[in-house]
Every structure is written in structure tokens, then in C-alpha cells.
Amino acid sequence: MEVIRSQKRTPSNDTVSNPKIPLYLTAPQMEVRLEEFELFAIDRLRVLKGVSDGLARGRNPKEMDDLVDTLWKEHMRDPDASVMLNKDIISHFVLRLVYCRSDELKKWFLSMETALFRHRFRLQNFEAQRAIVGEFGLPYKAVTGAELEGLKERLGQVVRSLGQISPTVEAVYYKVPFEEVPDLVASRRVLIQKGFAFVAGSQLVSLVVTQFRSHISKALILTNRKWTTTIREREKDRLTPIVEALSTSYLGPDYSQSTEYAEISLKDIDQVAKSSFPLCMRHLFEKVREDHHLKHGGRMQLGLFLKGVGLKLDDALAFWRAEFTKKVGSERFDKEYAYSIRHNYGKEGKRTDYTPYACQKIILSAPGAGDHHGCPYRHFSEDNLRAALGRMGLSSRGMEGVMDQVRNKHYQLACTMTFEAVYGTSCDAGINHPNQYFEESQKILKSKTPPAPV
């Protein structure tokens, strides 16, 4: 893929076979404008984020089909079909660069791209689906004639076992090694004989999705290698800053559903704040303990963070109550503060389940007098910041690197460097969400195996 600066783009002519969904098997040979490089990627990222949201909310397959259709039309459509296809291909490959750079990023990207592919595939008609299967070069022949006749009765049994009262044995079945369709095998949705699964036309999704996933997974490993060995250095004045900014532009996981690392309890909270909170939240937490109060901005920023970290509503209410009642008394707490805490957890009013703030949002906030929210790397004076970093355990040498980033206004990189200094490990993905900082920190602290000597 050639990236050029602001020149008229020549229309791509490599979409010879023109399947509706490209398989991203090879990097495209086409010219891309630098601006499009970034914009296309952002649009695709919005689609992937929408998919992520949908899955997190437990949408069923049909709902996901509709969601994907809507998202695609909203962000990726273009009146010119070949332009639309180019955007599809280019945006995917750009995002590979962005998301190949750590295991966490790879896992997320792989899941979302696979889900996206699955539902786009389901939306196609049967002919288009067969064409895509053909694109993969899968050597599976359709089962016909005498062989199909011999299987008909049992194929009918399979259909009936899945809840269809009158077995419509489909016209086309593919004979496929059972290893290629693990999810169909696991749920007994296919007939299996002598190592082969008989996959109905309508079940092709399973087959191609497994192939797709496997291919992208391998590709990401290769892309990462290429990135670290050549591309990152070669493109350091051109593409690299864009790629790195794309991952910090917050469109990753939103932490509104707390993960396996969640579930902190009230009794642990002080200890966990000291060991795993990023600086912005540590500061807010210390202030609550100290002043027994926080203004609105701080309550929102810290409160939602605690929710994302796994503090249950009851514990949250207990926490805030314990502190605030030292200053304002129990009645006032119930009247003025309890409601908004429940509101944050989606238990009042609109019942929107608010999501914890990402770094971008926090950095852009404007703390005023008496406020303690915002991003310390941006909003603290140099002296205060140094003091705070010292309390986190940074040496003066470690601090210099961080202060350097701060001077250059790279606040998230400053926080990332702090993370690296505190835990003694590198964080390739870069910090872009306080809950991400927390989770990564917990992962490190919880892992008991010492690093293997090389």
C-alpha cells in the first residue's frame, strides 16, 4: 500500500473479482492519501466499537446483523462502490498496524473484526456467500447424488434435533473435516461421519468465520514483527505518529462492564488505591479521605472509575457516605448525594449506565478552584506533579522522562511512563483509560510467576 501526500488518487483497479466482503488476504496495492489513512481508520473504529457495544449488551445474532448493517451504512458507506471497497480494505490494514502492538489490542481487534465479518456475511445472499467461500480457496466440495441420498435421513434428524418439526434437508451440503467447524461440532448442529462434518449451506458462516479468524490472527503476528523491526522506525515522521495517536484516540474497550479483575471490596480499597490507581484517581481518592468531600467533577470522575473497577453500588454508597457524613451529616448525604451515585449506576432517572471517563475526556476537562479532577499531568504545576510522582515511588531519573513528556504535552505518554516506572515493565499499548491502567496493574500484581530468566 502506497501512502502519498495530497495527490489525486488513481482509482483502484485490483477489485477484479469484487466480492462484496473483502477477505484482507493480502495488503492492497493502491495509493492512499495521508489524510484518508487516518480518517478511514477512525470510521472503521467507530464500527468496531459499535460491534463491541452490541456484544457487551448481549444482543442476539439477528440484532447484531441489524446493528452491523446500520453501523456500516453510517460510517463506511460511499455512493461509489469501488471507493467504498477501497475504504474497507485500507481501513482494515491501517487498524492492523494500530492493533498488532500488544496482546490485549490484538485480542480485541481479532474479536471485533471476526464478529464484524460474521454478521456482514450473514447479511449476504446465498450466492454471494458461496462466492466468498470460494475466495478462501477452501477445497470443500458440495455433497451430491448417491452420497447425499444415503445421508438424507440422518441429515433430517439433525435438522429436527435443532427444533424444526418438518425437516427441510437443504439442497446443498459441504463435506468438511470436523476440525474446521468446532462450534458446530460442539453444539451437535451437524452430522459427523468418519471425521467429516456435513455442513448445510446455511451453516457456512461457521466455516468461513473459523478460517477468517485464523488468518487474521496469524497476520497480526506478522504485522507486529514488521512494525517493530522496520515500519515504526522508517515511518517515524509520517505514519508512526498517526498510528500511535489512533490507539490513544479512545475507541477501545469502555470498561462499563467490569471484568474478571473487578470486584474490589470496601475493606481493600485503600490498599488497592495505593497499589493500582493511576495518578488522577489516587489524587481524588486521597482528597476524599482528607477533606471528606469532593466537588461534582471529582465525584463523577472518581465515582465512575470505581464503578468500572468493580465497586458494587452498595459499597459505593457506603464509601461516599462514610466520608461525606463526616462533613455534611447523614440527612444531607441522602438528600443531595446518594441520588447521583445511584444515578451513575443507572438506578435512577434515565437509567443510563454511565461509562467511566477515558483519558481524552479527563484531559479535556477544566478543573476550577476547589476541584481535584482532570489529568494531573496536564493540570498540576510542575512542583506539585513532581511531589505526587515522588509519592508514587518514582526516582528523580524516572521523573525526568515523565516531565519531558509533560512539557511536550504528551500527557498520556507521561502516564504510561509512570506506569512503566512503577511496575518495572513496558506498556506497549499506551495508557488511554484510567480503568485500563488499573486492570493492567492488577494483572501484574496478581501474576505470581517470576519473570523467566532468558
Partner: protein
């Protein structure tokens, strides 16, 4: 070498609770002790078949063909459990004699076999966990573990670690169902079934295809076999939805489960004969009216002079007839009869054992420390004949040596060999090892030829 045997009574306390009715087992103190173990694994007698195990796990890589990978055996993980539960993992051996030496210096109470890794397990710390040179499993047999304790809620003769001739048939039926599926559905050819030494069986699927399966694929096969989803919280632990059984379940039902349920199971477990027992079955019927109707019939017939087995059969017929006429009442009643049969008879495998490549499993021909029985192979085509209480014990083997009654060299041609273990070893060799090695050699040769062919091609322009 008959010496005073040190009795390790303190670890055998639980064995003393064995019901007298099951005293086919020898006195607990005589079952197993460290001295017997030394004789089994070491010295002149060499009961443990070192070279057969080595041949098996080498899968044809014996160095005799240029296509062989001479380091293959050395990348296999073994683990030893020693006396006092000391556990040694990541053991690996260059060849048969170093494996033999290690066993003879440790006399492990248990030997487990793990996966074949990308590098010697011994040297794994030299490799990082990321990048290209990673310590990771590359091959491992597809394995299954069936344990009678998983059937405790449906067997009335024993519970826990005990097993008897009344409940062992559950394992026999499980072998039949799983073995048929592995061969007919999945097309596997090299399958070894092994007695686990006390109360269950292990299955080792050794086809190359099976050894290379990913965790996801193993999980898929395990889930394919899974029907029972029980715990304390649900009464209906088998839920068969849809309008018919999947062909695999239908075949299992027709060929094995139905006959077993209506025949042997009724005789051995009498699952309808008392109120406690039949209430459990009534709870599986998701319709109160049908439950009451049947309960009414059965409560009143308690004074019958029929045998327990006959009573059970009568009640089963009543249940089937009632459900047959009423099954259209609700979707959950459609296959209620089948569900009950499946609950009592369908195989219950330990899913976790099968799903991960790095899961360790006990080696065949080990001796079980609690029973002293040898983990011998079981013939799946003759599994009705297998009696877990007739398996040779360590003390019987020692007795045999001491009485000087048999030759220890197992000679395949010599039918007069009467040593207790000879039959098992012969079976292992002829039914499993020889066909397996033949097929492995063919594979090594053909993939070697392909490789040579390819590199020849690469020289042609």
C-alpha cells in the same frame, strides 16, 4: 525376597471402611507398599513394560528412518508423584533407558504423561514466553477420563471411591458409546482404553490428527459428548430439546442405552423400587399432573410380592405409557422418556481433562496406590468381560514371582505363558501398539518423501 512388609496403615484408614460384601479385594495392608513397588519397577523382574511405553510414545521416531525426529521422545513431559505427595513436573527423557533409570531411582507412586512440547521440558526456562521461540505444547493425544464418582446421583449400590459389579456396567456402557462415536463419527483408528486402577477408565486417542488438535477442537469434541448438565440445583439434568435426537445420540440410545436401562440397570439398581428412588425420577417430569398420577399408582402398590427388579420394570412401563399419551402437552415432555434413560446411563466425562493440551494423565501400567491394581488396557470390543475386581494386584504379582511360577519375558508366540500381566501386555502390543507403529512409519515415510520431492522441485527452474 520375601521380607517383613512394612504396613502403611495410616494412609489406608479409609480402605477399612469397605463393605464386607465387596471383599474381593485383598487385605488393605497387602495391596500396596513401597517394597512391592520397587520390585514392580526395578530389579530383575521388570514387570513394568518400559520399552513398550517408549515405543508407543515415540510414535515411530526410532531413528531408523531419515525422516525420523530423534528428539521427539525427549520433548514429552512426564511427571512423577513420589511418596508423601511430592510432585515433580516437567520431567523429560532422551530415550528409553534414561526414562527407566529415572523411574528406578525414584519409584514414583504415580507416573503421568503430559504433552510433547516445542522444546525439552527440562530446558523450558531458556525460552521466553513470547516471540518465535516459545515453550508450548505441540502434540498431545486426545484423552478422556470417566470416573464412577460422577455417577453418584444415579447409583445406589456404592458411593465415593467404591465400585462393584453392580455399578461398573455404567462404565462399560460409557466405553461402548464413546468408542463407537470416536471410530464411526470422528474416524479415529488408534484408541487405547485403560483401567484407571480403581473406579474408572481413561481413553487415549493417538491418531496423528488427534495429537495435533488445538484446545478449541478438543473442547468441541468434549462438548459434542456432553449431555448431562447436572448439579444440586436442578432436578432435570438432561434436557433434550428439539423434535428428535441428534443421530449420534439416537444411535447411542438405540444400540446401547435403552437396552441397558431396561435390562441390566433395573436388575442392579432397581431405580423405582422405593419412594426415595422413584421421587427422584418423578422430579424429572416437568408436569405436576403426570407426577401425581404416577405417584398415586405407585404408592398404592407397595404391598406387591414381586421382586424389586420386577416392580421397577412394571413402573417403568407405566411411566412410558403415561408419557407417550401425554407428551404433546409441553415441549419439555416430548423426550422425557429418553431424558430419563440418558440421565441414568449416558457417559459422563470429565470435560476439563479433555480440553487442554497440557493436562497430565496417568500412564498405563502404573499401579494404583489405594488398590494396588495395575492400570491395564481394556479391550473396547470386549469390555463386557472386563472385571475391575479381577485385575492383577501388586501383591498378586509379587506372589507369582516368589513362587517362581512363570517366565517374566513375555513371548508373543508362547501361549503357555501364564503370568498375570502377560495377557495385558500382549493385548497392548497386538491390538494397539503394532497397528499404531505401522501407521506411524507409513506417515513418516510419506511426509519425508513429500519433503524431498518439494526440495527437489525448488531446485528446478
Amino acid at each position: 525376597e520375601r521380607k517383613m512388609i512394612r504396613e502403611e496403615i495410616e494412609s489406608r484408614e479409609d480402605e477399612k471402611m469397605i463393605d464386607a460384601a465387596q471383599m474381593n479385594n485383598p487385605e488393605p495392608e497387602e495391596c500396596f507398599n513401597v517394597n512391592y513397588l520397587r520390585i514392580y519397577y526395578g530389579g530383575k523382574s521388570n514387570l513394568f513394560p518400559y520399552s513398550d511405553i517408549h515405543k508407543w510414545l515415540s510414535y515411530g521416531h526410532d531413528g531408523k528412518h531419515p525422516g525420523c525426529d530423534e528428539y521427539y521422545f525427549g520433548r514429552r513431559e512426564f511427571s512423577f508423584t513420589l511418596e508423601n505427595d511430592v510432585y515433580l513436573r516437567y520431567k523429560s527423557f532422551k530415550n528409553a533407558s534414561s526414562m527407566e533409570d529415572a523411574i528406578k531411582s525414584n519409584f514414583p507412586y504415580k507416573i503421568d504423561i503430559g504433552a510433547v512440547y516445542s522444546v525439552d521440558p527440562d530446558k523450558r526456562h531458556a525460552y521466553s514466553q513470547t516471540g518465535t521461540n516459545v515453550f508450548t505444547p505441540v502434540e498431545r493425544e486426545l484423552v478422556f477420563d470417566i470416573d464412577i464418582t460422577d455417577y453418584d446421583d444415579v447409583r445406589y449400590c456404592c458411593s465415593g471411591a467404591d465400585v462393584c459389579s453392580k455399578c461398573w456396567p455404567l462404565i462399560t456402557v460409557a466405553i461402548k458409546v464413546i468408542h463407537t462415536s470416536l471410530t464411526e463419527d470422528f474416524g479415529f483408528k488408534h484408541i487405547l482404553w485403560v483401567f484407571s486402577g480403581r473406579r474408572g477408565v481413561h481413553c487415549w486417542v493417538c491418531d496423528p490428527k488427534a495429537r495435533r488438535m488445538t484446545n478449541e477442537q478438543r473442547s468441541a469434541v468434549a462438548e459434542y459428548f456432553r449431555v448431562y448438565k447436572g448439579n444440586e440445583n436442578n432436578a432435570r439434568k438432561v434436557a433434550l430439546m428439539g423434535y428428535s435426537l441428534h443421530p449420534f445420540l439416537a444411535r447411542s440410545y438405540v444400540d446401547y442405552l435403552k437396552g441397558f436401562f431396561e435390562g441390566e440397570l433395573q436388575a442392579t439398581q432397581s431405580i423405582f423400587s422405593t419412594k426415595d428412588k422413584y421421587e427422584k425420577i418423578l422430579a424429572m417430569i416437568s408436569d405436576e399432573d403426570i407426577q401425581s398420577e404416577l405417584r398415586g399408582k405407585w404408592e398404592n402398590s407397595a404391598r406387591s410380592s414381586l421382586s424389586e427388579e420386577a416392580i421397577s420394570l412394571v413402573r417403568w412401563e407405566q411411566l412410558k405409557n403415561t408419557l407417550q399419551s401425554k407428551k404433546h402437552k409441553a415441549p419439555t415432555l416430548r423426550m422425557c422418556v429418553e431424558e430419563i434413560v440418558f440421565t441414568f446411563t449416558y457417559p459422563r466425562i470429565d470435560l476439563e481433562v479433555s480440553k487442554q493440551m497440557n493436562h497430565l494423565l496417568k500412564a498405563p501400567f502404573c499401579v494404583h496406590p489405594k488398590t494396588g491394581r495395575v492400570c491395564v488396557p481394556i479391550d473396547p470390543n470386549n469390555c463386557d468381560e472386563f472385571d475391575p475386581l479381577a485385575v492383577p494386584t501388586l501383591s498378586q504379582l509379587i506372589e507369582e514371582i516368589n513362587s517362581g511360577g512363570s517366565r517374566m519375558d513375555v513371548d508373543d508366540d508362547e501361549d503357555s505363558d501364564t503370568s498375570l500381566l502377560a495377557k495385558s501386555i500382549k493385548f497392548f502390543r497386538s491390538s494397539f501398539l503394532e497397528p499404531l507403529l505401522k501407521s506411524c512409519k507409513e506417515e513418516i515415510e510419506s511426509s519425508y518423501k513429500t519433503k524431498i520431492g518439494k526440495s527437489k522441485d525448488s531446485f528446478s527452474w
